[in-house]
Symmetry: C4
Subunit: 254 residues, 4 copies
């Protein structure tokens, strides 16, 4: 069996210098939330399924009782106006389990990207702060100084030595390996506590991305999800607060 | 050395559109118990031994002092009447140790299955509930809605979002990869506490499977084993109960 | 780089149906001690060095400051009389780190063995009992019933279901894979506490082996080492005894 | 994707029997500190970037917001006088994550070395003592007795059975595999506590190396860094001392 199995679904689309946008599971699931929202909102269509021996040996069960082997998927969207660009969108159930598998997957995706003449990549992810975030900034990193300047105009924040550990996983590799292949790229990282899935951070990332892509994205659904998560977070906090107080009371009595 | 070594034993059987049935070690060993019982009961014959670098580097010692390298094995059985189908049965000592090895093994087995023109797979396993199970249901998942409907008629239960984590290991992979190869499949999962090997759950799975295959299977041996295990389980429970009471008594005295 | 690098040292020896004897690191280091003693005692000569990516990335430093990349090695010995057989002896610094690497190594060694027309293998190891052993028995396992009978004559003990977990590592794999290649084999396991290296157990194994091979082996050096280890074991035991008593005294006073 | 990607940067230099010098991350980062200092001090130029699937899937972010895929790098330097030799210097962000990956990397580097007709290697590293080191000695190991004698003249210390565990990682493998390829080599290990990065130990190593290479190396920058680290170490020690005293006081009061 091949390390990675690429399966085209339906007719191969004809795309004009598309931009590749990645959002796979990660911190706060920010990237995956953002790209899945984008796919649904603009009506992108699946055209590639990617299977790998480095994904878990697992199938999911759909609500109708049918199964789905875990994978990554590519969607495409064709530009509606002159100031837009065709898009390829990458999302999926997992990132590779091993370092080696992650390199293989990024490499395979870049090869498809090159076949479609992709010259630019956006990778989306979360930047975990380990604390509450009122208004998440979107931090950036890019393959060239020119792109850094360009991104600053869209409100992307570039802070020296942040994130300190660099970027780990597909969001980093697609830029790093892509650069070797001569493909430019930007990573957009929404600040997030990192404890729960974070639609608020995903929204912040999409606000920046929609400017860069000249695409109107309806964000109400993400805002609704963000409120749900905020509610859950509040309940968790009051629960913790309650526990803390009980302990204080007990130690007082004791 | 090849990743996987396929060794045919004796003459290759000639089979007509056989159905593949898998039962490898897993939760409650339900699948392995079921398939091994079936093999013995219908008198299926071994025709393939499968060795893999992803199995542990281990030999077992038979009661006569001879050794056996750990493996997976395929057995075949030829239909006795018109409303039956030829069978290939898969069982073995281990599943692959790594994710990659599990994909390789499933892929190798599917290649043999394709050579024999297999169009349908049943994978058997346990669904661990972590609690006592009076009368185990048999949960299902399948590669198509049509198969889901068909299986419901045999008493298979399809519950939305169960099992929540999907199906992990060979039982899932054979269906997931099989689907990519155009082979239909069903996974039958017997409910089980999951603590001990569970012949009762294996019996429940075989009751469903024997209906689907139009095969009479004598289940008395599994029932006998189920009673043995039930006895062991009762002894463990009364032991726990005893321990719990001793603690209560001590805390009362103390 | 190849998975495994086979390097012949000096001229390839010409051997007549040699017997392969394996003794690699393992429980009580019994197998390695036995084979290394045998190599030295009969004056066997190194003719192959085996390097593998599955050994640790490590060099040892010799007493003269020079380095040695960790490896496995093959030695040969030519029969001195008609009732003896030529020998190939395998020992080394490590077994493979991964399951896959262990299969590769065993397979590579068997390929060399086949080139030399090896028809029989002895693998040597320890059987860890986790308790003191006065007079270690030598347990056995073999690739055929005929060999089991033959070995019983040399005092080898075959106990049903012992060792319970079978044989793990090179001692098992060389027999298991060897059997697939049509090579007969016996594993001799000296009983050992398993805590310390165990020359006494290695001696017991060599007593059996020397009978099977019709070779006189001077065991005084192993007996000397066994006495050293026995002394260390006694010191450890009296240390433990002392600690235990101190605790009792303290609890009495307290 | 290849296991390892070798990317030449700019024109391939023409070098005359260069010496290879390795300094990758390790204990006290001694080797990496030494080689990076040497590269900067003699003005060596990068000519090869080495990427590997066995490095972490990670990019670093430069201070200007651009990214860098983690790698190893080769630099070259051309001799300025007759009694000097051309140099190839190896440093990098990581060593391989797995044993197998480390062998692959060492092998790839040795293949480049052979293409450049390298006949001698120096590998640099730290020897962790787990205690304070006033004046670090430089311990050695080499591929031949002749080199051992030669190195003693430069003040390198050879102690029997030290380091006890041999040399692990690239510093060991380049010598061990190099020896198989007929390349001579020396490992220089600076004594170090091993807790913090250790420029003092790196300096000691460079003092020896500069003699062996007939190169003047300005060590003031390393001395400056060593003073910084010494300050940090003192602060840590007084912090620990303070903690220890507080505990004593408390136990006195208590």
């Amino acid at each position: 069996m091949e390390e990675i199995v690429i399966k085209f679904v339906g007719r191969k689309p004809s795309l004009k210098n598309p931009i590749l946008i990645e959002g796979l599971p990660g911190i706060g699931n920010v990237g995956k939330l953002a790209v899945e929202h984008l796919i649904e909102n603009i009506g992108a269509k699946k055209f590639v399924e990617i299977y790998s021996k480095d994904f878990p040996p697992q199938v999911f069960i759909n609500s109708d009782g049918t199964i789905k082997l875990v994978n990554n998927e590519l969607y495409y969207w064709k530009a509606k106006s002159r100031n837009q660009r065709d898009l390829i969108l990458l999302t999926g159930d997992y990132q590779g389990l091993s370092s080696s598998g992650q390199y293989e997957l990024a490499d395979s995706i870049l090869k498809i990207a090159r076949d479609y003449n992709v010259k630019q990549i956006f990778t989306l992810g979360g930047y975990g702060l380990g604390r509450e975030v009122k208004e998440p900034h979107v931090l950036g990193a890019a393959t060239s100084k020119k792109l850094v300047s360009k991104m600053k105009k869209y409100g992307v924040v570039f802070r020296e030595n942040e994130p300190g550990g660099g970027i780990i996983g597909a969001s980093g590799l697609l830029l790093g390996l892509g650069k070797l292949y001569g493909i430019e790229g930007v990573c957009l990282m929404g600040e997030t506590p990192g404890y729960l899935v974070d639609p608020k951070s995903a929204k912040a990332v999409l606000v920046v991305l929609s400017k860069a892509l000249n695409i109107d994205v309806d964000l109400t659904e993400l805002e609704r999800k963000a409120k749900e998560i905020e509610l859950i977070a509040q309940q968790l906090r009051s629960l913790e607060e309650g526990l803390r107080k009980s302990k204080e009371d007990l130690s007082y009595i004791g």
